[in-house]
Symmetry: D2
Subunit: 411 residues, 4 copies
């Protein structure tokens, strides 16, 4: 009789290079060897590094952000073999808790330099920047963005099951076509990249195969979820994931203490290392039963609650900053919405980079409002007013405060 | 001593053609004559027709939807001259209540035919369809979509101040350029349309001018808001609107008993006639003070609340239904997200058109999730489970019910 | 085809004495004649006077409060005969809406004089006082309590079905015993009171019987609900009521624009006249099925939401203001809790009577916290901070404001 | 540079008798020696035993509950000396997190036997009973109460600063008077009890003094809070505590994974050992500034949220089960309210003891509704419907399920 401590299915070492840890990997491929087995209906803890594998430090310089090696990302924990799972099943993943490591109670948000990673607003804000966040229980605050404090909507940025060979081939086909057709002056997708590929415990020949074929972990993808960066996959969420390979080969990582809708600065969440507690259930033949092509989820009941009337909400439309009209383009509209917030919050003394960082990681609500009223898409972004220790309502007096600065590069 | 009944600034006549009512208009133009004056700090009631001016009837045929005359839309109430308002000011509009007319306690949701209006999914669902909703106090239900009932998040689809001549010229320029460059097989924007233009009490020559130059009311636009179709502009909301002309010339209309994020079927809200109660305040020089380029709002405190854990949420990515990869396209992602819901809810016996209608008008939450993970945008759509009288959780048994049918055309 | 206006089952006349209106009554008795019939499953509107029948006026004197004739209260609308309802059934009452009358957009909150009605704190605050509240859509504010504004949690204070003769006899027995045993210097219950009894359309002899036997409407009672004064019976609530007589004989009244838990000043809600929209359903043999002895309800989904972190909450214990220890007495504890709030809010310039009125009618949350830790009961009272236009958090500076005065008697 | 692990100000040993641990104590007295110092503005972790000091085991017998030694309770962690705190100050305690120990992921709820502790309903349910709860991240479930699962509203049952000698004398005076005047057949309060008194690191003579004079920790008390058992003092709460002695001498304990309003079975929360993370701030002269006589708090933003419409709510009035009318007695009313829930939930197959346990520990909402309508107090108890895995709405079919049994004594 008696309930025992929850089993830890994978431990990580914060002081050892990520690429030397066999329970981690950074490419999606059906052949990455499973690092552990988990029983159907079992609850386990899984430890995770931050997505960069520890490249970013708790200091006041953004040099590490500027020089981050993106061929390494994202270091995921897994894959885990879930007993009884077969292709066509659905893996029900209940996220029972997510916690930072006790010995590392901090995280980071970065604006990547336009020439190394970039972000949603990099044409306007091309420099690297960084904010360090200190965790105090459920709360966080930053010396780089003063007068703000909030409860984290803690969650994993990435979770999903391995693609089958067929699914992987389809990913490489369609993303390859996009890359081939690209006429923009920027990368539109990342093909398989052998450099820095980490294939867990694979031997050399298998590792080479995975390195050459494996899909990058950067995008979420419809067939399995992956890096969906959905802020609401927090404590208590149930996620229904398609299974494509025997044993499911589930991986998870990229833990976020908090994130805003859009994660706009790319390294935009409050990135952290930590532990996730998950219960696994296999729903046999679930994909056909549910007509499922992409993951479904039910959020948990403990999201921070501000009250509907406690958001200051900004509208944006699909007319870009040069006055060009776009056709029902929600991406353009959301960029405009973000810019509207920056223009507004400036009046309190924040720099644009500070606001850009804040919008990336605070629990802002980004909604599709109207998407049919040609030619304009309309999106909204709600900023919870209660994260500030001053009054940001338009009718309150706006006083400029000493807001210090976020971290920049040493130049 | 004593508080009196709130003044009604405009009454409409449900039994008279909309184009004969001088307090209505259906084009944006600085010269539409004001239909009434409202004092700064005054609270008034304003009556509104439904956006089509009564073209859609409470019956079981979608013929009226198929044949709707879209050159007439949207019939707005106003414009109202707000005393003391000048260009550069901000008009603070507090929406104190929105109600349907007592004598017309019903509304409609339509899927426009692809050849006459269309909608977000018209390539897949090109037929006209309709659902009539009966109002029972704060709730609504439909004989055309059984087993669903919910509290309305009642709001105006359109509100805004008139453009100045300069703003109007800019609208016509940029939308004209989009039209000129269009290579799609569908309209991407609507130029000024003299047919059915209604300019309120304008005399013939002024009416002709407005008909020729006036911007269509279809899109929301960044400079003033307009048809933003934001479901959260409900009871208790405060909206901050830029003022471009002396007296603001505020108009409002397109009342919705409820709407989902995206209003995807275009005639997608529960459209109704009714009364809106508004308090007006002029914030002098507000645009410069707030750095305001587009409207801002603070939602009210009485939105229907389901609890964060009561949404079944679907993920979608910017890979279209033909397998083509799009680059960070939130519009494509949201279309996929909607399709995922349709595929799921089919299993209870609903037709695709019923679900399409339902997603348009029920209080679904459409979020931008990730918008930086190249090449995929990820959006989510949360369906409140408590609007159904059966259990839609994936783990509950799925039983097909007799769902009847929505209204279609007579063929 | 077509949905019609909801039927009004009872109209009242604001300009005619309440006792002359045959659709009203002010005593509970099985023989009060039904004023109208309502079908099972029907939705109707029912108009109601305020509970005093119009004795309190919109002015700046509390003389009317001091001199209120309490033998007249409460004027209820009904009773209504609900078709098919029989003793042992449960009447499911869905409150689909509650609205003030358009022509009377105001309400009142009163502190009754200790010698005429009294209230929860009348030993400390024995004077009559009054606040008038103006309604602006969903919001209300008062010239008598400045710097406060909130959305109403609108509801009926009283609803229930008529007692059977047996139930009525039981009420008179047990309350008579309490009165007989009373040693306090104050009334502990009110026996039947012939003066001012109003028995609807009863003829003289029936009226005399009802006047002599009828139970006062002052207390709620377990067998039927009645004057339960539950603030959460707002829009969208479903209430399950025991049926004791054929046809149920349902009555409703005492509409409140808002009320706090406890309704502590007795005339403590924002009392108003208005209209309630109700759907009725008879659940056959429901009392036995549900093991029901007292009403049950499910609140609606549109209560004003402030967020759990937006309440400043006060603790109180069952030690009275003279230092006497009471044994697990939640009533004493709640009185102390209320006093703690008064002591705190004084620092902003409010008078004690203003706070007493405010705590009675604003949507404060009064909870039982601990009720087993001998000898102290502990209760809490949460004050929503967002109803004030200044910052009431303890860490904010406390500045005394000009708070004017509530209405007092002319002396 | 760099944020370090939060300091643990007190560790406890789960395998060593509580009375041998010098950082614990179980009486309130100004002279209990401080076990550690904490700086003003410091964040620390504090470990706590469960309130019985480990007497209750994870098994299927309630013998340990029946025979619990109540002279030992409650083992509190502390007292802690907070630097700079002086009498008259307010100690602001921010509860940044509460967690069970990793190695002991379970808790217990007990019904104490009427002859040893008792509880709110012990005249009806006099037997000892127990339920063990297993923790799965934020959720808990019990093999003793099947078909129920919920997120914990985790909090400390007890926190407060030490009484001064004067305050302690007042406690002993007034509780002594109550005991002296008692005519009930049960204890109404507990005087100082030398048996099993634990005075931390006090030497023998000091320990004897504390044992003879020290107040029991059972009741909360207005002057300092103590065992207030307020379920909403959860993660993120800020509590403002009066300071009565130099250094404040703050103690905390009695951690609860969850509790319902009233904690009705006395050992009614989900009792656990664990760790609490607290930030301390001293507000100089705060008691006078705030007019503070009892603690005040602001709850945190992450309480489990069910939506207002997801509670099934029961009404109770101050007429006891023998038909006796009590005068505005909220305690009697709340007892009746609890009984109404038991009568209702029986129909699903639960035993009364299972429901009694469940109402004690699940996040039920107990409200004061009306407290002025002579002679009846009315209270309500809202049961969150979503904690059950079946539908408890009255309109759903009620099917009896196999509910097993809670733990009873071996007889």
């Amino acid at each position: 009789m008696g309930h025992k401590k929850i089993r830890t299915a994978l431990t990580v070492d914060l002081n050892k290079p990520a690429w030397e840890q066999s329970g981690l990997h950074n490419r999606w491929h059906p052949d990455v060897p499973a690092c552990a087995k988990i029983a159907n209906n079992e609850v386990v803890k899984i430890e995770c590094l931050d997505w960069t594998g520890g490249q970013i430090k708790n200091n006041d310089s953004a040099d590490d952000i500027k020089n981050v090696d993106l061929t390494q990302i994202h270091y995921l924990s897994g894959p885990f073999e879930i007993e009884t799972a077969e292709p066509g099943d659905v893996l029900l993943v209940e996220i029972q808790d997510v916690q930072p490591f006790e010995e590392q109670p901090w995280g980071f948000t970065g604006v990547f330099a336009a020439e190394n990673g970039g972000g949603f607003l990099d044409e306007i804000y091309p420099e690297a920047a960084k904010a360090i966040w200190d965790f105090e229980g459920i709360f966080c605050s930053s010396r780089h963005i003063p007068h703000v404090r909030f409860a984290g909507l803690i969650h994993p940025g990435i979770l999903g099951c391995a693609p089958s060979a067929e699914v992987l081939a389809e990913w490489n086909r369609r993303e390859g076509e996009l890359i081939a057709a690209n006429t923009l002056a920027r990368d539109v997708a990342k093909p398989p990249e052998p450099k820095s590929a980490h294939a867990g415990s694979a031997d050399e020949s298998l590792k080479a195969k995975i390195a050459n074929e494996g899909a990058r972990t950067i995008p979420g993808r419809p067939e399995h979820g992956g890096n969906c960066d959905i802020k609401n996959l927090s404590r208590g969420s149930k996620v229904y994931l398609p299974v494509h390979v025997p044993g499911a080969k589930f991986s998870v990582g990229d833990l976020h203490f908090s994130q805003g809708d859009g994660e706009i600065s790319f390294c935009g969440a409050i990135e952290m290392a930590g532990v996730i507690t998950i219960k696994f259930n296999v729903i046999k033949n679930g994909m056909a039963k549910m007509g499922m092509k992409s993951p479904i989820f039910q959020p948990g009941p403990v999201e921070p609650q501000f009250g509907p009337g406690r958001y200051l909400t900004f509208e944006g439309f699909s007319v870009d900053e040069k006055g060009k009209q776009h056709y029902l383009d929600a991406t353009v509209a959301y960029r405009q919405t973000c810019l509207r917030v920056i223009e507004y919050l400036r009046r309190y003394g924040y720099s644009d980079y500070q606001i850009y960082l804040l919008l990336s990681c605070a629990p802002v609500q980004g909604h599709i409002a109207g998407l049919v009223d040609i030619p304009n898409a309309c999106t909204t972004l709600g900023v919870p007013m209660d994260i500030f220790d001053f009054d940001i309502r338009p009718e309150a007096d706006a006083v400029k405060l000493d807001m210090g600065t976020c971290a920049f590069t040493s130049k």
